[in-house]
């Protein structure tokens, strides 16, 4: 499971004089779901396009399962499933026609096409839509067809560029479940600007800004690395000093109306708070963890860079 499937080295890409990606290097291991996070215009889509061979890199190299995308494009592309930002659909074709065509383009033997088609339709929840024209499908279903197109040939690497944009919350949840199920057998790169998506689906997160990699860590360590903050509400009025004196509390802030915001150190659980509240009958009736660590980090990192740029 430690095989490296994508290796990007010192990748740069210029549009005329505009630099979209600068000296980007990263790797993707087998069975990993990598979140590619960045504000709009950070170079996410450009990176995806270069990896999938739709754009030529200005400098550096991309290897997919050991095959260079420039020198051996055919071998490299056969290891890859790609869903671009705009799903490449033929609106006048039916779902079955379209997916069958995709299967043939990826050199799936004629006898295996039917099985591949029904498998991928089951995976993407398209069983009942086979005969419908793609243009008559809702956006969410078109997106599913796009994902189906990317995984029909069973590639070891799947690249999804903003797969949940423009979908309603239920569809987003379904697509996320789908991505997670893909991650169990394949490596996935997921590009997005939605932080919750990365937290919900990815093993590892990379933050990119202005074409440069500014953060790279596993999502798990991310949740632990940062201090945890909680909002609490008490029936009894308590002094701030009393709260800051509690074990593990680094900072306390009164929000009025019996509510407080407490910041705990890394890897601390609010045991002391709860024990004290019970003992001294503070009347604790709300304890809400503020799980926005990734969001905070994102804003912190991207803002910091923006300030530097000024």
């Amino acid at each position: 499971m430690t095989e490296t499937l994508i290796q990007v080295e010192n990748l740069s890409r210029y549009y005329q004089n505009h630099r979209a990606i600068n000296q980007l290097s990263f790797t993707l291991k087998a069975g990993e779901v990598l979140g590619f996070l960045g504000p709009n215009g950070a170079g996410k889509s450009t990176t995806m396009q270069v990896i999938s061979g739709n754009l030529a890199p200005s400098d550096g190299e991309v290897k997919i399962a050991g095959y260079d995308i420039i020198d051996t494009p055919r071998e490299a592309k056969s290891q890859l499933g790609y869903l671009p930002e705009h799903p490449p659909l033929y609106r006048d074709a039916s779902v079955d026609e379209y997916l069958g065509y995709c299967a043939r383009l990826h050199r799936i033997p004629r006898t295996a096409i039917k099985a591949a088609l029904s498998k991928v339709k089951a995976q993407c929840g398209l069983e009942t839509n086979g005969a419908r024209l793609i243009r008559n499908l809702s956006k969410g279903y078109q997106q599913r067809v796009g994902i189906a197109q990317a995984i029909i040939h069973d590639p070891p690497v799947v690249i999804l560029d903003e797969p949940t944009v423009g979908l309603d919350p239920i569809q987003i949840r379904e697509i996320r479940d789908l991505i997670r199920s893909l991650g169990s057998e394949r490596s996935v790169i997921l590009s997005t600007h939605m932080l919750s998506e990365v937290q919900a689906t990815c093993d590892r997160v990379q933050i990119i800004r202005a074409g440069e990699l500014i953060y790279n860590a596993s999502t798990e360590s991310l949740n632990h690395r940062h201090e945890i903050s909680c909002r609490i509400a008490l029936r009894k009025v308590v002094n701030i000093e009393e709260l800051t004196a509690l074990a593990g509390v680094e900072q306390a802030e009164a929000l009025g109306d019996g509510r407080y915001r407490l910041v705990f150190g890394a890897d601390v659980t609010p045991d002391a708070l709860v024990a004290n509240a019970v003992q001294q009958q503070w009347g604790l009736y709300e304890l809400i963890p503020e799980q926005q660590s990734l969001e905070d980090l994102f804003i912190e990192l991207t803002q910091h860079e923006a300030d530097n740029a000024k």
Partner: protein, 249 residues
């Protein structure tokens, strides 16, 4: 692979009404032309009998018909070729082909194969009219074959030029107008040559329809065939280059 893309292109053409309409309109107009030519032939027949070395029914009915067909198709082919790449660019569905394990050459040849399949259907339908002459008379089979080949080569050249123009832009109308302009220019390019002596043979050689005429007369000159094949190869090469170049921009 080329065949798979070609087949898909061919089917896609018939999923939109345009291909059907074009086939119907052309068939109708040329059917009418065929009848007029046939009528003329009956008028001329008594005079022809008195002459020696007279032109036959193929020369009087079929050759002029195909000459008109060539000019009509010069205006119609841009409408068919304009969508082949420009539409995919606009819908951003070209990514599907580019991300698949295919070379640019295979993609372009596949697109061209799709157009040629349509051309094959179109020309074969047109050739049904001359073939109906076998019911009443005996046309020159060699000439008919030469005419058939000539039409395929000419329309192949139209398709290759149209494909290239379609790869240059996202806008189908621009692709159609552009390829129409080039085709028209290549048609009239030798009109000048009669008054200008220097470079006359070059301009005459470049003319699209000039080479067609000799094939219509049943003259199978390998330089004419070479002209069309070179033209097709050149424009397909340009298309491949153009699509490859776009990845660098």
């Amino acid at each position: 692979m080329i065949w798979i893309i070609g087949k898909r292109e061919f089917v896609a053409m018939f999923q939109a009404p345009l291909a059907w309409v074009i086939l119907a309109v052309i068939q109708f107009i040329l059917g009418y032309m065929f009848l007029t030519n046939l009528d003329n032939f009956f008028l001329l027949q008594p005079q022809l009998m008195t002459l020696q070395n007279t032109p036959g029914v193929t020369d009087i009915v079929v050759a002029p018909l195909m000459q008109v067909a060539a000019i009509i198709l010069l205006m119609v082919m841009p409408l068919l070729t304009m969508r082949s790449i420009a539409e995919e660019k606009r819908n951003r569905s070209l990514t599907l082909l580019v991300s698949a394990p295919l070379s640019m050459t295979e993609i372009v040849l596949g697109k061209f194969a799709g157009l040629m399949l349509f051309v094959l259907v179109l020309v074969s339908m047109l050739m049904l009219m001359p073939l109906s002459l076998y019911l009443g008379t005996t046309p020159d089979s060699g000439k008919l074959l030469s005419i058939y080949l000539g039409m395929l080569l000419l329309l192949g050249a139209f398709s290759a030029i149209g494909l290239y123009l379609s790869s240059l832009t996202e806008n189908q109308t621009i692709a159609a107008v552009g390829s129409f302009g080039i085709l028209l220019m290549l048609w009239i390019i030798d009109w000048l040559s009669e008054s200008v002596t220097s470079g006359q043979s070059l301009l005459a050689y470049l003319s699209l329809l000039g080479h067609h005429e000799s094939l219509l007369e049943g003259v199978f000159d390998s330089s004419d065939i070479a002209y069309y094949l070179l033209l097709i190869a050149a424009f397909l090469g340009l298309t491949i280059r153009q699509l490859d170049r776009e990845r660098l921009l």
